[in-house]
Every structure is written in C-alpha cells, then in structure tokens.
C-alpha cells in the first residue's frame, strides 16, 4: 500500500497529470469524509455505549479489515 506522498505528490507534473491527481485526491478525501459520517456514527455510538456500560469496546469488532 502506498503512502499519501507516494499517491498524491507529483514531481514536475504536466497539466493533465495534475487534473488526474486532483480528481483522485478529491475522491480519496470524499471517501474519508463519508467514512466519518457513515461508519464513524456507528463507531462513536458503540464507543459512547461502551463508556456508559463500563465494558470495553473491542476494536476489531467495530473496525474490520
């Protein structure tokens, strides 16, 4: 798996490469924003619940591969 820099840093790019990269980065960020709004809601609810019940939330149960 490539790092952020390997995926989105371009040395001396052409205009076309910049457009393609910007689009890919936008989609990458959008996916992450949607993750906070989607999966994140479930994670935060489970986390709050675990706090209330005093029973630890198992990370693997809420965050899968």
């Amino acid at each position: 798996m490539q790092s952020f820099e390997e995926q989105f840093y371009l040395e001396n790019p052409t205009r076309l490469q910049i457009i393609k990269r910007d689009l890919l980065l936008f989609l990458w960020l959008l996916k992450r924003a949607l993750m906070w709004l989607g999966k994140g809601v479930l994670v935060r609810m489970a986390y709050k619940d675990a706090k209330k019940k005093g029973r630890p939330l198992i990370i693997e149960e809420i965050i899968q591969d």
Binding site: M1, Q2, S3, F4, E5, E6, Q7, F8, Y9, L10, E11, N12, P13, I18, R21, D22, L25, F26, L29, R32, A33, M35, W36, K39, G40, V43, R44, Y47, A50, K51, G54, P56, L57, I58, I59, E60, E61, I62, I63
Partner: protein
C-alpha cells in the same frame, strides 16, 4: 485551574493485541537499523496499529477531522512544476540566509538547514534529495492548556495547516528557481525530528518530542526537501539533557506512565524513549493527548532562552 484528564481505564481494547510498538520501534535492539512506522500513517498506508489509528480518526470531532482533510487537500501542492531555467547558486551561505528569511516571512517560527540523511526515512525509504530545510511553527500556549480536549486538538490542526502553507509556498519558490523541492508536513514518509536535531533546532526531550530553544515542545515541525545548494547548520547543545535528567514533570504527569526516567537503547542508539504500547491507546482516548509537551517547563512562553543559558552555565561551573 485543576485539570481533569480522561481515565486510564480505557473504554476500548484490542481482542488480539498487535505486535508491540516497542518491538517494531526497535527498543533494546543494539544494531543500527532504519525505523518502521507503527502509527500515524495518514490513513493511506496499512500499519500494525492501523485499526487503532482509524478508530482515533473516527472518534475525533468533525471539525478536527475536516481540518485534517483540508490540510491533505492543500498538500497536493507540496510538489509541482519546476522552472526550466535553473538559477546558479555561487554562495550557499547567502542562499541559506535568503531561504531562512523567506521562510520566516511565510510564517515559520524557526528554520534550520541540514543534509538529508538515511535516518530521516523509514527502513525501505530512499534519500531522494540532498538537503532538508526544517521549519518549526509554535502552537498557541493558551489554547494548548486545554490538552486532551477538542480545543487543543483544533489548535494542533490549525498549527499543522499554518506550517503546511509555509512549506508549500517555500517549496514552490524554490521550484520557481529551477530546483527540485518537496514539502512534507503531517505526512507518513519523513521523520522530521532527526532532521530538526541535525539542523540545530533543538534536542530530543525525555518525552520523545523535540525541545527547541525558543518554543519548548509546543510546536509542529515540517520540512522542505530540496537539491538547492545551501550551507548547513550544526546540531546545537541547548542543555536539554541537563534538564531532563533532573526534571520529572512529564514522567509524573503522564497518566499511563509511558515516560521513562532513563535513556534506552533504540535501534543502536541510547536515547529518550516513550513506551508506545502505553502511550498510543491513551493518546487515542485523549483526543491526541499532549500532556507531556504542555507540562514541560521549557514550553512556557519566553522561558526557553534563559533556561538554556542557565543550564549551560551551571554545567560549565561543574
């Protein structure tokens, strides 16, 4: 103000604990090998403790999370087009002086220059540039008094964004001179602390973070890697060890006792080391924690220079 920090009884746990971060970090290893990343992989790279990192990101407040995403968007300009005509550099001293004053105009707190070295990249990373321009940006001390709350998390992200703007702009100026330059901030591929130490910006403190003469530990670090010929700064002894050996503030205030009073051997080097397995889970619960850097006596604004002077003159008298 009496501060209340999150409990050390964490409301989450791994069922199968990942390989110890201390083993991955090479604690106790006497051979000099490259570092392996354990945490803070920017969400792009898969790491041994990656699930905890994702969990940390998802329990962060939306504002902090969005600031991080916006910073990533800005960082697309960390590299870019290079001018065809390359400026000839005859005097590397004057060029380094100009670059430093430009960095300060662009918002940097402190600037240092050092050769790029292998110990600033992870094990399989390559050294692709000749020089590193390292920049420090101070965080707001009053805001950072709220460590372990969203407020301090927001300030941390604000500082990251400001320093990102500085290094992005600086790298762009260098590329306009016809030289390769790439900005690194809050990323996964570069170890900023060894570079900052080599560039004379500070020393490693007991809490595993850089202590700079000017800002203590309450700052963020970013770097521009470049081939632009520059003269170098030298590592500077500001008396951090003299303070850390006797001071126990961070050791005592760390809720999970992750900070040791003794230096330890890590990948062939004796240095201050923080227990990753204790630190990272609490760091997650405490929205980025930061207790150790805020309680450090060096972090108090305006204190660094006189403290350094006092420590060094005390040593001379011994």
């Amino acid at each position: 103000m009496k501060k209340v920090f999150p409990s050390t009884d964490l409301p989450f746990a791994y069922r199968d604990i990942p390989l110890s971060g201390n083993i991955i970090n090479g604690l106790g290893k006497t051979e000099k090998v490259g570092a392996t990343q354990v945490f803070h992989g920017s969400g792009a790279r898969e790491l041994e403790w990656g699930k905890l990192e994702l969990f940390f990101a998802l329990i962060n407040p939306f504002k902090v999370y969005c600031l991080n995403l916006y910073n990533r968007w800005m960082l697309r300009n960390a590299d870019g087009p290079i001018a065809n005509k390359q400026e000839i550099i005859d005097d590397t001293h004057s060029m380094a002086r100009n670059i430093k004053s430009l960095a300060k105009e662009l918002g940097a707190g402190s600037v240092g220059v050092t050769p790029m070295t292998k110990d600033a990249v992870y094990k399989d990373g390559k050294v692709n540039y000749k020089n590193a321009i390292v920049i420090l940006y101070p965080m707001d001390h009053d805001e950072m008094q709220y460590v372990t709350t969203d407020r301090a998390g927001t300030e941390t992200m604000r500082a990251y964004m400001e320093i990102s703007k500085t290094v992005i702009k600086l790298s762009e100026k260098i590329r306009q001179m016809g030289w390769r330059a790439r900005a690194y901030c809050e990323g996964a591929d570069l170890l900023h602390i060894p570079l900052a130490i080599n560039a004379g910006l500070g020393e490693l403190g007991k809490h595993g973070s850089l202590i700079s003469r000017e800002f203590g530990s309450s700052m963020r670090i970013a770097t521009v890697l470049t081939d632009l010929p520059l003269s170098y700064d030298k590592p500077s002894d500001i008396g951090v060890d003299d303070l850390c050996i006797g001071c126990r503030r961070c050791t005592l205030d760390c809720p999970v006792e992750a900070i040791s009073d003794q230096k330890q051997v890590v990948r062939g080097e004796k240095k201050w080391y923080v227990d990753f397995d204790k630190c990272a889970p609490y760091f997650t619960e405490a929205v980025g924690c930061g207790i150790c850097i805020e309680v450090c006596p060096w972090t108090k604004p305006g204190r660094g220079f006189s403290l350094s002077e006092k420590l060094l003159s005390k040593r001379d008298k011994r």
